[in-house]
Subunit: 331 residues, 2 copies
Amino acid sequence: MTDYRDKRVLITGGIGFIGSSLARALVAQGARVTLVDSLIPTYGGNLQNIADIRDRVTVNVCDVRDRFAIEYLLRDQDFLFNLAGQTSHMDSMSDPKTDLDINAAAQLSILEACRTVNPGIRIVFASTRQIYGKPDYLPVDEKHPIRPVDVNGINKLAGEWYHLLYAKVYGIRACVLRLTNTYGPGMRVKDARQTFLGIWIRQLIEGQPIKVFGDGTQLRDFNYVDDCVDAMLIAGVAPQANGQVYNLGSDEVVNLKDLAQMMVELVPGRSFEIVPFPPERKAIDIGDYYSDFSLARTELGWSPKIDLQEGLRRSLAYYREHGQHYWDAQP
Amino acid sequence: MTDYRDKRVLITGGIGFIGSSLARALVAQGARVTLVDSLIPTYGGNLQNIADIRDRVTVNVCDVRDRFAIEYLLRDQDFLFNLAGQTSHMDSMSDPKTDLDINAAAQLSILEACRTVNPGIRIVFASTRQIYGKPDYLPVDEKHPIRPVDVNGINKLAGEWYHLLYAKVYGIRACVLRLTNTYGPGMRVKDARQTFLGIWIRQLIEGQPIKVFGDGTQLRDFNYVDDCVDAMLIAGVAPQANGQVYNLGSDEVVNLKDLAQMMVELVPGRSFEIVPFPPERKAIDIGDYYSDFSLARTELGWSPKIDLQEGLRRSLAYYREHGQHYWDAQP
């Protein structure tokens, strides 16, 4: 795919986990990439994520809440991959206003900026399967009722709908991808703020037992980050994606106990243990979840290529080599 | 009903159309009522609405965005009827940030205040049928997909969901009523910012022809304000309402042309005309809409009592007598 050669591309959250992988793919295609990231220490930005492409991208450190900076940066861009967000469900409950400012208010000001200074831009917005809440049925397709279980889910949904509304009312070419659990090199492993898989990887490497919450029977699907990036690249240039919402997902559905087993088998001498849910996690647990991503498959021609074992192997290899930049690092 | 005798009740938007009618009903029951209103001139607050109860309520002029004032006012209240909102769909598109601040951010700070200083309060939140968007089927029940057609709808929905989330996660006793077109004494008649019925009433009284947009075949349901107030009073004390969403509505479904005909027949010598949609209204028009309110009927024992002809007659009588305080008045 060379759709992005010489194209100007802005990535919010660009030094984060998925944003940096996307940047790497875009640089490889010859795009002119600008990364926006707030580098808030508890969020996903980590300069190690872009160590290998640092001299081939433009880095602009600022927050998406910085309205005028963002408006300036959006001028003349061909594409916006809008990935910046507050992703911690716990933080959204303890500090709901910050979550609202980043996940809803800043999204609205980004769209207003596009409408006024760059209405020809194409936007891919990263949303989350969290907005479906506890599923009524499985797999969960895009028509499943929306039922956010935390402040984060409500605000992400508002952010998503602003994009769809600006597509519908103003003709801004925006689409929404609802990501499932994404993992791979660059994910936050210091804590469970992005994905529990980060913690598990770290525990594996550090020789601690993996902790599985609940009874281990919860079903999940996972996307390796390169597959998620592929979906974004396809969606960015697909005219049929304008104004649409697509689930990402995987046919490889696994329960957490089997996942833990698969992971400990990758590192000799490791083990996992089943522990009760911490109460604050139990309150927002959604039980089983996996996506129906047949719309993305049919309309975008996307499906994930990297299976779980291969993805986990690559992730482990990455953190074995670069872990010291992630365990306790500042961004 | 005397459930509210000596109870402390806060009404946001309390000098507005529905808030003031609710205040009147509560005062009649012996409640100790405090009205919060921003008195923003383009919004619904009008002191004429409370002229008859001015000495039996406490008026506190402030904006729901005034976080600390609201937190102070919420202390020691038994009930919150949370009616303040930016209601103009046009304004939400031209000034989306203000709409977000009032309809979403302020709602979140109100709930945070309740959680921290008054978790025992009972809350009724006034939402809107607008969040359903263009209906997939009629009548529209609470399970109908959510599909906001403007920034206002997205933000109202976020505000609504914060209430349901705080009910679920923190046990705050909050419920949501999704109002349909509400009309009656106290509605804004200066312009169409609250309801086109306000403009129609004014045109009738001033001797101008009523203007029906589109082809006049759009179906709607309407609630006279006293019926809407009844629903709120019931929901406020119904334990089964906690964490629930209820549509309001009416069995009397009418198309706009027949409604115009009914109205011109109430005032000798008047007429109506069918005119094309202004383009900015057409973009967000939702076609036919009427509610299935059987959940409110079954669970709350509520149904509307005042038919359209009687409600319109009372409204006309009110504005014939008090219209001069509404046509061009400051709040």
